[in-house]
């Protein structure tokens, strides 16, 4: 019986492991499917990581390296090249690897840190032929940064998610011509700094409220037809533009990778497409925690680390002290302008001084007040100059205010000035 099994050795799993060790847990095992620790950070060779966490700009591998170095000073065990096939509700982890064969590991606690995957062309149903040359931005990034191959010479980026923006710059630096970035929404899905540094600095146009209406080419992409999208979200006839490209990179969203979670019977949130979690990242199965992109898609790895440390500490506490004491539970609900909130539930007994709530808005808001309401009572307010769907928002709710909630439900709303 292992105290803590961590599924995934990316930024979430690394931070959870370090924190659980620091909290006094000694029997910790990370299961990582790749041949090295670090997860997706290994292919993110650009900088911009770590500003919040370390106060300096690091590349992805450097950021991962800091945590791997910390891990080396612990006794956390790591098993690489190992795929978890199943997690049972009674916390048995089935996994397989070349080296260790088929294993069934019993755990006292589990941290789920499987990350996310990219949405594909199939998910968005782009019409046209299905030639080679249509890749998710992350797959192209892997070919370029890890394998040393270029996937195309003339490129159109569909979607303005951060990986797509980063790849616009990366492909340009490698000598490819990036003709445009096309975004179906009226606003970008990525961070403002990436729009500036990856598109504007290279004179790559961004077409908002546009999409690809046709992909042409028999064996390899030859053309992409782009059209403007009307308020009814349908292409406007007559606005078509033709791009001679051999490659289309998709950056159309990320989906948490939750097959193991669902299989284990853990309660899911259709909004985050991740597990419903309590204030300490615990899922509906006691002793099973989830953190990082598997529970909500983050913009910045710095916040993944923070969230995962919370989960790591909570897993340690679960093993050492048992479950969080019973008591009042508040349900957190997103108001009309919010896509989701995380956590979805707060156990007041689990909150010492305050608890963080993160969320995303569904539209761009100017100067606004974030209202935390319980029934008709506003229990907290937070001012913001701007809120955007591409940037995750965080608020800290003090226990004293939560105690004052008149009903067992809090709703987070936006009041635009």
């Amino acid at each position: 019986m292992v105290d803590l099994v961590i599924i995934g050795g990316g930024p979430a799993g690394l931070a959870a492991a370090c924190k659980a060790w620091e909290s006094g847990l000694r029997d910790i095992l990370i299961l990582e499917r790749d041949k090295e620790l670090g997860g997706i950070l290994n292919q993110c060779i650009h900088n911009g990581f770590g500003l919040h966490r370390f106060g300096e700009q690091l590349t992805g591998p450097e950021y991962a390296g800091r945590f791997i170095a910390m891990l080396k000073n612990t006794g956390v065990k790591v098993q690489l090249d190992t795929m978890v096939l199943e997690v049972t509700p009674d916390k048995k982890v089935h996994c397989v690897s070349k080296e260790y064969g088929y294993q069934i590991i019993e755990a006292k606690s589990i941290v789920l840190g499987m990350g996310c995957r990219e949405r594909t062309r199939g998910a968005i149903g782009t019409p046209g032929t299905r030639p080679a040359g249509v890749y998710t931005a992350g797959a192209a990034q892997r070919y370029v940064n890890m394998e040393g191959y270029l996937v195309g010479r003339r490129v159109l980026i569909l979607g303005s998610g951060d990986i797509g923006l980063i790849m616009a710059r990366r492909m340009t630096l490698e000598g490819a011509k990036v003709l445009a970035c096309v975004e179906v929404m009226p606003y970008s899905g990525g961070l403002t700094r990436n729009i500036v540094q990856c598109l504007n600095d290279f004179d790559i146009p961004l077409y908002l409220s546009h999409t690809i209406v046709d992909i042409q080419g028999k064996n390899r992409v030859e053309k992409a037809i782009v059209a403007e999208i009307g308020p009814d979200r349908k292409p406007i006839p007559g606005t078509e533009m033709e791009f001679d490209v051999d490659t289309i990179l998709l950056s159309v969203g990320l989906i948490p990778e939750n097959e193991l979670t669902k299989q284990a019977g853990i309660e899911m949130d259709p909004r985050t497409k991740g597990a419903i979690v309590y204030e300490n990242m615990e899922t509906s199965i006691p002793g099973v925690f989830a953190c990082g992109n598997v529970v909500q898609v983050h913009d910045l790895v710095d916040f993944v680390s923070g969230e995962s440390e919370l989960a790591g500490a909570a897993a340690a506490s679960y093993v050492q002290n048992g479950p969080v004491a019973e008591g009042r539970v508040l349900t957190v609900r997103p108001g009309a302008d919010l896509g989701y909130t995380l956590p979805q539930r707060i156990r007041l007994e689990g909150v010492e001084k305050s608890t963080n709530v993160s969320f995303r808005v569904r539209r761009i808001c100017g100067r606004s007040t974030i209202l935390v309401k319980s029934g008709d009572t506003v229990i907290a307010r937070f001012k913001r100059d701007r809120l955007a769907p591409g940037e995750m928002e965080h608020i800290a709710l003090p226990r004293v205010l939560l105690d004052r909630a008149p009903v067992d439900e809090v709703t987070i709303e936006i009041e635009e000035a």
């Binding site: 299905r130 797959a139 070919y143």
Partner: protein, 481 residues
């Protein structure tokens, strides 16, 4: 000189090759594409129809019913994914009930076993997700779902194992009659053969007209589909058809042998193998399917695709010897139920060759059967034993479908080896899942390169010209090791 040249290795050519490989003959398959099952066979409804649709007395009726019975045996013998889940034709309106009766009578005349007309209540009890509007249904328990490309591939593999020669990327561009047979022009030379089986699918009329003007015309007809994630895979548990109505033949909703949900097709005549999808076509498929099963969540779509079927200007299959070209046998116009009928169609070809005295003796050392290891379908104990024996099965390459390195190595070294990323997908299933190869694509490419000694820059997604990579980066891939 070959005894028999089969033009085309879709399911019909494959079934013919499999049937003929039992006999002591020199047989060659000439496939235009770089892989087998790479046209109609890889993109269709993946259904073995019970056989109540074709008019009694047609070849289609006879061969459909015989074909699905043979398919069941072949799939068991060759370890092809197959599930006899049965089908329901829905009446979504009182006015459609007589059509069910008509199909029932057709089916009875065609010898379809076990059919029954169900009441509204019986239908909804079998399929609770169906529309409230359902008034009744025709139940046909012999209908099945199958993995169509594996079916063709498996038959080809056994044929190759037993001495049939397979040439891929070998398009026949001309044919002429010579003394005692035919001379076929192929890339880089000619092939001489006593007999020809024309199983060229949507190109069968053009291939036929290389020797004699064809008295039939193929009308390539495109059908567009949605493939949905496994989270939608249990939405229905039988193949759900609609009655034809003013809006057209209707679309089907069916589980797949891989556990996904398949929805489609529409029907639109196109030029050649035009498999592009259109927003209007997909919209039609979606709204029409929702008439049967309103709750389908199309947000769970993982792929839309289209296939082209070889519709014909006459309402039956074309099977037989061309009167003006002795030894030239057409197996053409294999529209639906072509997949269902395939092994029975092959029997017809064998019978014709037997009559002509071409067929050799049955091979004494014939090696039938096939085993396909599907790691994820094994029990925990079986998985453990397999990995102990062959550690490559312990490394998962495709995480969506849990496909291991061992399965990919098997695909790359099989009797009809994969050489492309999609070739691996069709054999092992890597890249079939919800991330559509985004994660495993680079890893599969690496394995192809390593195992077959192909430069990564030359590795194809699918057809010739579909290179995945265009160059090394400035720092370089190969030099980078």
């Amino acid at each position: 000189m070959y005894d028999i040249a089969i033009i085309g290795c879709g399911v019909i050519g494959a079934a013919a090759a499999y049937a003929l490989s039992r006999y002591d003959n020199r047989v060659v398959i000439l496939e235009a594409e770089n892989d087998v099952a790479d046209c109609t066979t890889k993109a269709n409804s993946a259904i073995l129809h019970a056989g109540y649709d074709p008019a009694p007395g047609t070849r289609m009726a006879r061969l459909n019913v015989r074909g699905v019975a043979l398919a069941k045996e072949i799939c068991a013998k060759l370890d092809v994914s197959y599930k006899q889940c049965g089908s329901l034709v829905l009446a979504l309106d009182e006015k459609e009930l007589p059509h069910l009766q008509h199909l029932f009578e057709n089916g009875t005349a065609n010898g379809v076993p076990g059919m029954k007309i169900l009441s509204r209540e019986e239908t909804l009890a079998m399929e609770p997700s169906l529309s409230e509007k359902v008034c009744g249904a025709l139940w046909a328990p012999s209908a099945a779902i199958v993995n169509p490309w594996e079916y063709a591939l498996a038959m080809t593999e056994v044929a190759v194992r037993n001495g049939v020669e397979l040439r891929r990327s070998c398009k026949v561009t001309d044919a002429e009659a010579i003394e005692g047979g035919y001379r076929l022009t192929v890339p880089g030379g000619t092939v001489e053969t006593r007999c020809v089986i024309n199983a060229a699918g949507i190109w069968a009329d053009k291939v036929h007209s290389m020797v004699e003007p064809a008295n039939f015309r193929i009308i390539p007809t495109r059908g567009e589909y949605y493939l949905l994630d496994k989270s939608e895979g249990t939405r229905v548990s039988h193949v759900i058809f609609q009655c034809p109505n003013a809006l057209g033949k209707g679309v089907l909703v069916a589980p797949t042998v891989h556990g996904n949900l398949l929805v489609g097709p529409n029907a639109e005549p196109v030029e050649g193998n035009d498999t592009s999808c259109t927003s209007s076509g997909l919209e039609f498929v979606k709204t029409t399917a929702q008439r049967s099963v309103p709750s389908i969540n199309f947000g769970e779509s993982i792929r839309s695709f289209a296939g082209v079927r070889a519709n014909l200007d006459v309402d039956d299959f074309i099977i037989g010897e061309e009167p003006e070209a002795p030894g030239w046998i057409d197996l053409a116009g294999m529209k639906s139920p072509g997949l269902s009928a395939a092994p029975a169609v092959a029997e017809e070809a064998v019978a014709i060759l037997q009559q002509r005295g071409v067929l050799g003796a049955e091979k004494a050392d014939y090696k039938d059967g096939r085993r396909h290891i599907r790691f994820k379908e094994l029990s925990a104990e079986e998985k453990a034993a397999l990995v102990r024996e062959q550690p490559a099965y312990g490394r998962v390459i495709c995480r969506c479908e849990t496909i291991t390195e061992g399965e990919i190595l098997a695909a790359l070294h099989s009797e009809v080896p994969a050489t492309t990323i999609d070739g691996v997908k069709r054999r092992a299933g890597a890249g079939m899942g919800r991330c559509q190869g985004g994660f495993c694509g680079p890893r599969v490419l690496e394995l192809i390169s390593r195992e077959l000694g192909i430069d990564p820059l030359d590795i194809l997604q699918d057809k010739n010209g579909s290179n995945v990579l265009v160059s090394e980066t400035k720092v370089g891939g190969k030099s980078n090791g």
